[in-house]
């Protein structure tokens, strides 16, 4: 079993608050691993630490045995660890297609000067990006919205576009922060299939999500955080039966989590 990402004793303090407290776990190649926990448990902070948007106070994150903590986010993205955001984040004023095309930036062979001058390499890049963007757009069922300005899309499609942007970077690991938030049942079912599809493309998926049925359905393994501390790790079945998890979610022992 290859360990693609290793999170090693990572701590993050904001002043007096310990948002992530000595968390360690590993992510295996091509798995779907979910991080769950109550509001404020430190899930988004953990994602920011992994994608290097934040530096850990102590501890480190390794990607393929190499330390990525402390590198600039765009360098980490270049290495293949790419994060989408909890808030719907897209380029609002661009068309759907331009959003996805621009997200291919990492794959460019031409330099900025090359793009300015319109060299052959640049033109090949543009063609390639356009083709690949169209493929991703179709894959995520956004075909009919291709030329619409992103800010006009309905919520579910915005999330899909967020995933499309992530995919376009050709990531090895894709970190999705609450991709199903605000979706109705049907949209969630579709989105779950989408994430499965993403994994089928060879991408390792890390997921933060509050939608328990979806998490239980899609995840290979689950890590549970509470007040910044990892309280459990295991298969969906193991997590559902874990006393500590039930307690963390409800504060009482004799109720079920409601999955």
């Amino acid at each position: 079993m290859t360990e693609l990402l290793q999170i090693k004793a990572v701590n993050k303090r904001f002043g007096g608050l310990v948002a992530v407290n000595n968390v360690s776990f590993a992510v295996r190649e091509r798995e779907i691993l979910s991080v769950i926990g109550p509001n404020g448990a430190g899930k988004s902070t953990l994602f920011k630490l992994i994608s290097s948007f934040l530096n850990p106070t102590s501890g480190e994150v390794l990607f393929r045995e190499e330390r990525i903590s402390g590198l600039a986010p765009h360098i980490v993205a270049r290495k293949g660890v790419v994060r989408t955001f909890q808030e719907t984040t897209i380029f609002k004023g661009m068309t759907v297609r331009d959003n996805v095309i621009i997200a291919h930036h990492l794959r460019s062979n031409a330099s900025l000067a090359g793009f300015y001058l319109g060299t052959n390499t640049a033109r090949r890049d543009e063609d390639e990006f356009g083709r690949s963007a169209d493929e991703i757009i179709d894959f995520l069922d956004l075909g009919t919205q291709r030329h619409e300005i992103a800010s006009t899309l309905p919520h579910g499609h915005l999330r899909a576009l967020g995933i499309a942007i992530g995919l376009a970077t050709n990531p090895t690991v894709l970190l999705l922060d609450e991709p199903f938030a605000g979706m109705n049942h049907d949209e969630t079912v579709r989105a779950v299939e989408m994430v499965r599809g993403v994994r089928k493309r060879g991408v390792t998926v890390l997921l933060v999500e509050h939608d328990m049925p979806a998490v239980m359905n899609i995840s290979d393994r689950i890590v549970v955080l509470n007040f910044g501390v990892k309280i459990a790790e295991g298969t969906p079945k193991e997590i559902q039966e874990n006393e500590k998890v039930i307690e963390a979610y409800l504060g009482v022992e004799d109720e079920t989590i409601g999955f």
Binding site: H74, R83, F85, T89, F91, M94, A103, H105, L112, A122
Partner: protein, 324 residues
């Protein structure tokens, strides 16, 4: 199809400004218009620079600093080192670009009103520096700067010696308009290449841009350097025409005007700063007749324009297109 249309538009534009306008001026005898239109051309170059910083999502009220810097660099090189003006022109731009890299690295981390404030201060710092440094000759400024000499290659005269011309004004006009056309062509290309899309991605969401692998710090600095290059270019050319430069040649008011030109013309259009500068400059002159009410009317009209045309004058055309 679109390409032929573009070429046609450019050809007509060049024909009008390079042949039509001079012909009209000579016919009507309004020779003062040469100077006015030259000013518009040069100010619109500096404004185009400000537009570039808008394009990466930064409000820049500091272009006066670079216009001043460019002006002094050119003046000092011409007066003290005897360098040909035409060589100092790009050098002034490059000097400003280099300076803006050093300044931009720290301040481009700021956004919104914070960045705007710092750039505003920058204009004032430039003025104070010009007052204090020995090489700029303090408050007395630099005067009687010689007119640009000629350029000839293999005996072929490309530009005449301006000092030998009976009236250098038309020549300055032509050179400035050509310079403006070149700058806007460069800008047009920038905006319509991938770099334009990348700049837009910065403007709309820097965090997301960096998560898809865009080196945002680098791109910001590049854009700011290009912006300041244009400021320096405009400033240097201006100094050559007025043959003098003082610490007060470009002030905070100019910085604000460069920004207003962009607003007025439209931030979404490459040619916004050109139209904006033209309208603002002539609008101001036109209101001269109203005497003491000039500033009042001028400001009111500006405010009204921004309220009713938040996307600038050039959005009028788009609006018409959509309806049609």
């Amino acid at each position: 199809m679109k390409r032929t249309r573009n070429i046609l538009v450019v050809a007509v534009f060049l024909l009008v400004v390079l042949v039509g306008v001079p012909w009209l001026i000579e016919a009507t005898g309004r020779l003062d218009l040469y100077y006015t239109l030259t000013s518009v051309a040069l100010l619109s170059i500096a404004s185009a620079g400000v537009w570039v910083t808008f394009y990466i999502g930064r409000i820049n009220i500091g272009q006066g600093a670079f216009a001043l810097m460019g002006g002094y660099v050119s003046a000092i090189l011409v007066v003290q080192y005897g360098v040909s003006f035409w060589l100092t022109l790009p050098l002034a731009g490059l000097f400003c670009a280099a300076a803006s890299v050093l300044i931009g690295l720290p301040i481009l981390r700021l956004r919104g009103v914070y960045f705007a404030m710092v750039t505003l201060v920058l204009t004032e710092v430039a003025r104070l520096l010009a007052l204090a440094l020995p090489i700029t000759n303090g408050a007395k400024g630099m005067v009687s700067i010689p007119l640009p000499g000629g350029i000839s290659i293999f005996g072929l005269t490309i530009l005449p010696d301006f000092a030998a011309l009976p009236n250098p004004r038309p020549a300055f006009y032509l050179v400035s308009v050509v310079l403006m056309a070149l700058c806007f062509a460069a800008l047009y290309r920038l905006v319509h290449s991938r770099i334009g899309k990348l700049c837009q991605s910065l403007q709309q969401n820097e965090e997301l841009a960096s998560s898809i692998g865009v080196n945002i710090a680098y791109l910001r600095v590049i854009a700011y350097a290009f912006s300041s290059f244009l400021g320096g270019l405009g400033g240097a050319m201006f100094v050559a025409i007025s043959q003098s430069i003082y610490p007060s040649s470009f002030t905070v008011t100019d910085s604000v005007n460069f920004m207003l030109n962009c607003f007025l013309g439209g931030l979404g259009h490459v040619f916004g700063p050109m139209i904006g500068t033209f309208v603002l400059y002539f609008g101001w002159d036109f209101l001269f007749e109203t005497g003491e009410f000039q500033l009042l009317i001028f400001s009111s009209v500006l405010i009204a324009l921004m309220l009713f045309l938040p996307n600038g004058l050039l959005s009028l055309r788009l609006f018409g297109k959509k309806q049609g």
